[in-house]
């Protein structure tokens, strides 16, 4: 649609790291607040930016443990999405490391991380527009060799609208429906750790509640969840850990409750 031949959505040259090359040797944890060193998934002291551009992340640390929900909030352009991409290996880190279950995965390519059990819903371009809804979900299960029909049924339960639209090209869906497909795709992976970048943007209140419910359920099964949210108050309510990022660096860290209770945080980042 846009720009004719030139414009292929999602062709941002700077963000994909197909081969998983890191430029620096990872170095171990630097003892940020909370027990990052032992956490299940850690993005440790990450510094980096897009392509050859300036650093966006400055010594930023994120972590999450099994059964926990970690929520990242912050102003627009703070680097939340960038941090997520960095954890997923879609960005060359200039410093810092990413560890999964004690293992250093800084140099793994994104698709290898998927194989290791990481699932990710990016903020933009998070569906296959020309594939049908069902095919989108199937692609989520691409690395699974087992029968995924049950998971599929669960997803349809969670988002009934998708079942009606299963044969429709995902690009023809409404904004909120697309978002549901995106989350559904990631859930299909049955990941060991789930990363969500603004999963609730554009979804209606009723679906948002369902979604949060589902996220809580998932985390109860022991799967760590790392998510970025602008619906910060709801999100922090269910969060075990909360991170406030400002200009690519950790500004506040604490449990969800602590952050919600902090008047500075409320005023500056949660809309009062």
């Amino acid at each position: 649609m846009s720009g004719g031949y030139e414009n292929r959505s999602n062709k941002d040259a700077t963000i994909t790291n197909t081969v998983g090359k890191g430029e620096f040797d990872p170095h171990p944890g630097t003892g940020h607040p909370m027990d990052t060193a032992e956490a299940f998934l850690v993005g440790d002291s990450m510094t980096g930016g897009y392509g050859k551009g300036p650093d966006i992340l400055h010594d930023c640390t994120l972590s999450v443990n099994p059964g926990e929900i970690a929520v990242i909030v912050g102003p627009n352009g703070a680097g939340k999405s960038t941090a997520m991409k960095a954890v997923f290996g879609m960005l060359d880190l200039r410093q810092g490391s990413v560890r999964l279950d004690g293992e250093d995965i800084t140099n793994l390519s994104p698709q290898d991380r998927v194989v290791r059990g990481m699932g990710f819903v990016p903020q933009n371009n998070n569906i296959f527009t020309s594939l049908t809804v069902e095919e989108n979900l199937e692609m989520g299960a691409f690395i699974r060799r087992d029968d995924f029909r049950e998971t599929l049924a669960q997803i349809y339960d969670l988002f009934p609208i998708l079942k009606d639209k299963r044969r429709q090209a995902a690009g023809e869906l409404s904004g909120g429906q697309r978002q549901q497909v995106a989350v559904g795709r990631a859930l299909m992976t049955q990941p060991k750790v789930l990363m969500l970048d603004e999963p609730t943007a554009g979804v209606s209140p009723i679906v948002m509640d369902e979604l949060f419910d589902r996220i809580i359920e998932v985390s109860r099964t022991g799967i760590p969840i790392l998510m970025v949210e602008q619906n910060a108050r709801q999100a922090l309510e269910i969060a075990d850990r909360g991170y406030v990022l400002v200009q690519g660096a950790n500004a506040y860290t604490g449990t969800g409750k602590q952050l919600l209770a902090d008047p500075d945080v409320r005023k500056s980042f949660l809309g009062g």
Binding site: G4, Y5, E6, N7, R8, S9, N10, K11, D12, A13, I15, T16, T18, F88, M90, S109, P110, Q111, V114, V115, G119, F120, P122, N125, N126, I127, F128, T129, S130, L131, E135, E138, M139, G140, F142, I143, R185, T189
Partner: protein, 336 residues
């Protein structure tokens, strides 16, 4: 009787050639459409890839023929085809490694890839001519006709002949089989779906655990097979001449586009649209009408809508009209 004669004349000069030519275009267009659909660029080197694959087939065929190997009534070239396909696969994989991969990693715009593929086209052009020369090469053997015009006349006692060539038969069958297989592969198999997913959104495919390099490799392998089959069948039917494979590119692209880029069914439909519009619009209906009409009404002229000088022009006009009504082709193709 006259009615039969009319039908036979029409079939012999219009329907059969158009169906055969349409299938030839369709086979070529399948390769183009696949590259477009999955790797997202118009591959100008496709014609020369076809020439290369067929060249290998031709060379192997000659070798077989010199060894006295034959394939009964069918052309020996069919036996040599697998070797041609292998040769062509090797070629495209090497080109991909050496050339295209770099631009993929750069996330270059499609138009850059188009121009790059022109570079590849020039190189292949030289390579093919270097190996086999620019001349016409004959490698067809076996039974030339399923039924020849003369036999047909003798058999039926009609005054019009009907000729069906072996190669025409094979081409049509192969084209149908190829499109069915491809359609099934892309829409039903895991690998096929992952190829479509990759073409849709590379980064997200990565996040789903799809290995892009593998998708690309499969695509090239299929394309190589299609190109070689298309090129060889065309060569068998007409003759092998490197220059013509370049010229084929234009109708092939037209077929792929009018059918809807990225759609295998569209490639077939497009092939037939182009072939039929080339063959029918400029046909002189005199022969058919002479049989059908009473003597008194017999046409004095040729009853030709347009002279054959304009056959390409006409087929492009038809293409334009189709596109004006279906801006992304008959089968709603992609448009990057």
């Amino acid at each position: 009787m006259d009615f039969l004669n009319a039908i036979v004349a029409l079939s012999n000069f219009v329907l059969i050639p158009a169906i055969a030519y349409g299938s030839q275009l369709a086979l070529g267009a399948l390769g183009v459409t696949l590259i477009y659909g999955i790797l997202r660029f118009s591959n100008f080197a496709h014609g020369d890839t076809m020439a290369f694959g067929s060249m290998v087939t031709v060379l192997v065929t000659w070798w077989f023929q010199s060894m006295g190997i034959s394939f009964g009534p069918l052309p020996t070239a069919l036996l040599a085809l697998p070797f041609g396909i292998l040769g062509c696969m090797a070629l495209v994989l090497i080109t991909d490694r050496a050339v295209y991969r770099f631009y993929r990693e750069q996330k270059a715009k499609p138009v850059i890839l188009v121009i790059v593929s022109m570079g590849v086209m020039f190189i292949l052009n030289g390579v093919v001519r270097f190996i086999i020369g620019p001349d016409d090469q004959r490698f067809a053997d076996g039974e030339r006709f399923i039924i020849s015009a003369r036999d047909f006349k003798e058999m039926t006692g009609l005054s019009e002949g009907l000729a069906i060539k072996t190669t025409q038969g094979i081409t049509v069958v192969v084209a149908v089989v190829a499109v069915v297989l491809l359609f099934w592969f892309l829409n039903r198999t895991r690998t096929g779906k992952s190829m479509r997913a990759y073409s849709d959104n590379e980064d997200l495919a990565l996040l789903s655990g799809i290995n892009p390099e593998r998708v690309v490799m499969y695509t090239w392998l299929i394309v190589a097979a299609l190109a070689t089959v298309a090129g060889t069948l065309y060569g068998l039917d007409k003759s092998f001449k490197p220059f013509v494979y370049f010229q084929l590119l234009l109708p092939i692209f037209a077929a792929a586009i009018v059918g809807g880029l990225g759609s295998p069914l569209g490639a077939i439909a497009g092939g037939f649209v182009i072939a039929f519009s080339e063959v029918t619009i400029t046909y002189a209906w005199k022969k058919v009408l002479v049989y059908l009409l009473p003597d008194a009404l017999e046409p004095s002229g040729l009853v030709q809508l347009l002279s054959t000088d304009y056959k390409f022009a006409v087929s492009f006009v038809i293409l334009l009209i189709v596109l004006l009504f279906r801006p992304t082709g008959l089968f709603r193709g992609k448009s990057v």
